[in-house]
């Protein structure tokens, strides 16, 4: 069978489209996550949405609303505890997100629900419903559009918050806006790829792009390109292997990262090795 043959199936085309939108959305944000050092924050938020989802289900609200609120609660609680105790930020994050996730599990165990924990944790890209797909497209367009419009301000806030404050930018507002966009992206993405792997989509493409370029705009383009290409590759591979699609997407992204780590022209391992060899051969060239 031809590698691209699965595309003749309607549900595969569907999955490919939704997957690509999710990948592009996460890839745009991943540039900020990587530069701001929010990797663990992304991980934490993606887990912390669970109790919100369960509670929203019980209350009959849209799941995304509950997830959003509980993701925000996680980052707010972390900020508060960190400011008011002597514990390091990463430890606080770990304590808070596991606490929320555990609470979500306990809640879920006490509810006779049709809420598929499996789908929340691992995603369900191949069986995604139209309403979820529409949610993904809507939120995706909104978030990416907003980020593109505000990208210079957001970049300055990530790079040099004090300078941004001096320029009278609303730094606090922009930081929280970025955080809120991150939560929003996680909430819609996890319906496609699941809680556990959405974090990979929020870290890996940005890191890959960071190895290729020193320009932020280029970084966003490369990040989106590798993310979408890996998603397509992953979905097709998962069809042929008959394996979990979210895992295949993440692994394809990891391969792209591994290749960049080795071969990227300036910041790759081989390139810096060559540079080091040249330097020690002609030490006078350094000064």
């Amino acid at each position: 069978m031809n590698f691209f043959e699965p595309l003749q199936f309607e549900f595969m085309r569907h999955a490919l489209l939704t997957g690509s939108v999710v990948a592009a959305l996460c890839a745009v944000l991943s540039c900020f996550v990587v530069l701001k050092g929010w990797s663990l924050m992304g991980d934490a938020i993606s887990h912390a949405v669970l109790p919100g989802i369960v509670l929203a289900y019980l209350a009959g609200w849209p799941l995304a609303v509950g997830a959003f609120l509980s993701g925000l609660l996680c980052s707010a609680a972390t900020g508060y505890i960190k400011q008011n105790s002597r514990i390091k930020e990463d430890t606080v994050l770990g304590v808070v997100f596991t606490g929320l996730f555990a609470f979500g599990l306990v809640l879920h165990s006490r509810t006779e629900s049709e809420l598929h924990l499996d789908h929340i944790l691992f995603g369900h890209l191949l069986g995604i419903t139209d309403s979820v797909a529409r949610q993904v497209y809507g939120v995706g367009t909104f978030v990416v559009g907003l980020v593109l419009v505000l990208r210079r301000d957001l970049l300055l806030v990530c790079f040099d918050p004090s300078h941004a404050r001096v320029l009278a930018l609303p730094v606090k507002f922009l930081t929280y806006l970025l955080l809120a966009l991150l939560v929003l992206a996680i909430v819609v993405s996890l319906q496609a790829v699941g809680i556990i792997l959405v974090i990979a989509m929020l870290i890996t493409p940005g890191c890959t792009a960071y190895l290729w370029t020193d320009r932020f705009d280029q970084m966003m383009v490369i990040s989106v390109a590798t993310a979408v290409a890996s998603t397509a590759l992953g979905i097709l591979a998962s069809f042929h292997l008959d394996g979990d699609s979210a895992s295949c997407i993440v692994l394809a992204q990891s391969l792209a990262f591994a290749a960049s780590f080795l071969f990227a022209p300036k910041h790759g391992w081989l390139a810096s090795k060559r540079r080091a060899a040249r330097n020690s051969a002609f030490p006078s060239a350094v000064s």
Binding site: R86, S272, R275, A276, R278, N279, S280, P283, V286, S287
Partner: protein, 305 residues
């Protein structure tokens, strides 16, 4: 301990021989650095940021393998000297996690670990050494404090006590006087002098140029290599310092400044290691250049006249 009734310790030598260090990213941090010290001495390590001071420290502590040359302590390689616990290190305040749940006593006891048994259970001798070191830096009364509860000077003294308890004979001090009040600075210097008498080698990296001639008998000037080394009087010359610091060091030429005859020879000089603040006779500010301040100069001439 250095003041135990052991036979007098043999003369100590530290030799840095043509050491070059290239980091894996290709950065050439040190090239062909050479100098030698014999105990007891207090030697200042002076140079701009990025001149290789910490790289040199790391080479002496054996954390870095030089890409060329070697460091020898008493004729042995560093690894052998570390096994005898000869090298002690007093870290910069920023390197320490002050919230760590350990007391002053615990920290100083850590200096003894190298000499302890497998389980690191302190014997009477270890406890005596810790007590003695704490008393020498006058921190015995603070032994049960958590380390974060101390003042800047007290923190420094605790880590100095740890070096003493370890019985280190080559003591590396990284910026020991930052965040320390003048009284503690003097107390630390007194202690260093005592250790010099006992035959130790102290290598002090410092930005505090003014205090170097006060207590250091030798100086190593560093800028990615050793520019000069030897007795303070020979090395700590204006010419050498200008080479080491280039334009980085602030200068104040009296003949170009606003200081005038009527100030006599008394001006007060305040400095935070950067650029001195100079006050004239009546406590008025003096400026580095006369240019642009002709009015001021004339005015003061009239007053002085």
């Amino acid at each position: 301990m250095s003041d135990s009734p052991d036979p007098p310790a043999p003369l100590l030598h530290l030799e840095v021989q043509q050491v070059s260090v290239v980091y894996s990213n290709g950065h050439h941090a040190l090239r062909d650095a050479t100098f030698a010290l014999s105990g007891g001495t207090i030697c200042a390590l002076v140079g701009v940021n990025g001149s290789g001071k910490s790289t040199l420290f790391k080479s002496i502590m054996g954390f870095l393998r030089p890409s060329a040359g070697q460091v020898r302590i008493n004729g042995q390689p560093v690894a052998a000297a570390l096994k005898q616990h000869l090298v002690a290190y007093v870290p910069q305040a920023e390197e320490v996690d002050w919230q760590f749940p350990v007391s002053v006593w615990d920290v100083v006891m850590m200096g003894r670990y190298g000499a302890m048994n497998f389980l690191r259970i302190p014997r009477a001798a270890d406890k005596a050494a810790v007590e003695d070191s704490l008393r020498r830096v006058s921190m015995w009364d603070f032994r049960d404090r958590q380390i974060g509860e101390l003042s800047g000077g007290q923190k420094k003294r605790v880590f100095l006590a740890r070096a003493l308890a370890q019985g280190g004979r080559i003591i590396l001090l990284d910026e020991p006087f930052t965040g320390v009040d003048v009284k503690t600075e003097e107390a630390i210097i007194d202690l260093l002098r005592e250790l010099r008498t006992a035959g130790c080698i102290m290598l002090v990296s410092t930005h505090n140029l003014g205090s170097v001639p006060e207590f250091c008998d030798q100086v190593v000037l560093l800028n990615r290599t050793v520019l000069a080394s030897g007795p303070t009087a020979d090395v700590f010359t204006e010419q050498n310092l200008t080479t080491a610091f280039g334009g980085v060091l602030r200068q104040f030429h009296f003949e170009h400044s606003t200081i005038q005859e009527h100030d006599g020879r008394t001006v007060r000089l305040l400095t935070d290691d950067e650029r001195p603040l100079v006050f004239g006779k009546d406590g008025h500010l003096e400026y580095k250049d006369r240019e642009g301040r002709e009015d001021l100069v004339r005015q003061r001439e009239e007053q002085g006249g």
